[in-house]
Symmetry: C2
Subunit: 325 residues, 2 copies
């Protein structure tokens, strides 16, 4: 018999969310807590266990298919180990075993970008699409790849670092140490820097106002808010970023010939005009036959990660039980 | 019972090659002819049929698993139709049916880059590797993608146009109409242009000499030959191209996390130092955990396409017969 619920956990650098999710993707209950990032891996595991306990309270254990956990880390999916983790002290930590030893359920871990992709694939903007690329625009730029209906993780599970592809040799520095990568143009720090430069001049007064009158404190959100309120300078900063994104996606479309590109992440979700600009560039510049690719905004917002992690738990359960979804 | 031979046909813009190939990749016989590019699709089919007839002469039809044909065209592999073809008049032509109606054997068509990738995968540099990227450096820059042990063709079979990914926004024009694509730096025309610029000055005298003393006639091969004879200026042109290739491959490594990159094509195969330079850039600049990717030169040279087309014919035969390879 098929079980009724799975728990999806989405571990972020700042917050952890856990949801109790039905097979069809309805999230019945969701709880959140701050990530104890400074307190070490065991404190993070404790926080995850607390949320799982809270969200499953009153549910019969036999009704739970398993726990899926999305981590902001590079995961060897086959070995189920954390290989690298920039923002949390999880590298080399056997998160799966640590969590599994404290709950009665099977646990599967995956990269947070893959979880968001699985979420959008099963319940959101990419429902029913076999070949798509998800790109998440936030502080960093990441994503997920889906080929033939399955997430593609590469030879060691480290694929889909879409933000770290060059778009301009010798371009501005990237947090990864490279130069001119997509993230150097599209990450929140890059948008904030462009906003600060504008806000230091008269033309950027609307952006400066968003930052309480202090141009040195301008954030990416200030630029986005000014643009959403109709400021043309702020809008232009984001359209320029959309232009760069479009040219980068032309390359990805020519390389991978996807049916769909889903743009998510906080920046992607709050800036439809940026996504439209990128789509326009693809429409003009991709090679013939590939321009029918659809570019869509993600639909699940903050819930994508937890929903995708839950879907992963259902999948692992079903494959253990020999069921097909 | 398993059949003994397949015929692999490699259709190029200039030449067509057909080989009689054993299951293990030994090419027993190979014949070539010029491609009647100007004479229309039926003449091209005639030429292919003549070569198939010649190469299968004396072989019992029951011993032949089928015919694989690699075309310099964009193929919808599932529908087995030619979608686009730049150098030959084959777009929209039902090549598979035209050939099949004239031979007694099943026919499968695929893109020539995919065929070369299948060849290297089965019999060459990528033997036994499940996740790899093949990049072919020639007049154009193309390639093939292998994920989970299978060629990946994208949603419409148009994937792997590796040459048409941006590496420098607003860079030099690309034959596709784009700007700053990999092919704008690495294609034969780009190498020849750099060679002509050098040959017009004293420093490029060795390159000029390769072109019979006329700097305006310098080809990519002249640059390569001068470099192979030890000329530092020619070598530097190719090392600069290798540097650009390396930065582009860093992005592909970060995106796809392949185990191996196979560099083929006439330029790739004749310039080991260019390939080494690109490998060095990956080693320095790829994200952590991905630097164990191996960069290797293709091993099958001109035969890759025909061998891969033959492997495709064996695969199609075996899947029809319910056999597993």
């Amino acid at each position: 018999m098929r079980t009724t619920y799975a728990v999806g956990v989405d571990v972020g650098g700042t917050r952890i969310a856990a949801g109790l999710v039905e097979r069809k993707g309805r999230m019945l209950k969701e709880v959140r807590a701050l990530t104890p990032a400074e307190a070490g891996p065991f404190a993070i595991v404790d926080a995850i266990i607390d949320l799982i306990t809270e969200v499953t309270a009153g549910v019969h254990p036999g009704e739970i298919a398993g726990i899926g956990v999305g981590l902001p880390a590079q995961i060897d999916f086959l070995k189920q180990t954390v290989e690298f983790c920039t923002n949390l002290p999880l590298a080399g930590v056997d998160m799966r075993s640590l969590i599994m030893s404290r709950v009665r359920h099977p646990v599967a871990i995956d990269n947070d970008g893959n979880c968001a992709g699985i979420g959008e694939s099963r319940f959101g903007a990419a429902k029913g699409v076999r070949d798509f690329v998800m790109i998440t625009l936030g502080t960093g730029v990441g994503g997920a790849l889906f080929f033939n209906g399955e997430p593609y993780r590469g030879s060691r599970g480290l694929a889909a670092e879409i933000g770290h592809m060059v778009v301009r040799l010798d371009g501005p520095p990237c947090p990864c140490g490279g130069k001119g990568h997509i993230e150097s143009y599209m990450g929140r720090p890059a948008i904030a820097a462009a906003g600060r430069a504008a806000a230091a001049e008269y033309r950027g007064r609307a952006i400066r106002e968003q930052a309480g009158g202090n141009d040195e404190r301008v954030t990416a959100e200030d630029v986005i808010n000014a643009a959403l309120k109709g400021d043309e300078i702020a809008r232009q900063i984001l359209l320029d970023a959309g232009e760069v994104l479009g040219e980068a996606l032309v390359g990805i479309v020519n390389l991978l010939n996807p049916r769909l590109i889903v743009v998510g992440g906080g920046v992607g979700e709050s800036c439809p005009f940026l996504v439209e600009r990128a789509a326009g560039v693809i429409d003009r510049n991709a090679l013939a036959g590939r321009r029918d690719v659809r570019v869509a905004q993600a639909e699940l917002g903050n819930d994508a990660g937890a929903l995708g992690a839950a879907a992963l738990a259902f999948d692992e359960h079903d494959s253990r039980e020999g069921l097909h979804r």
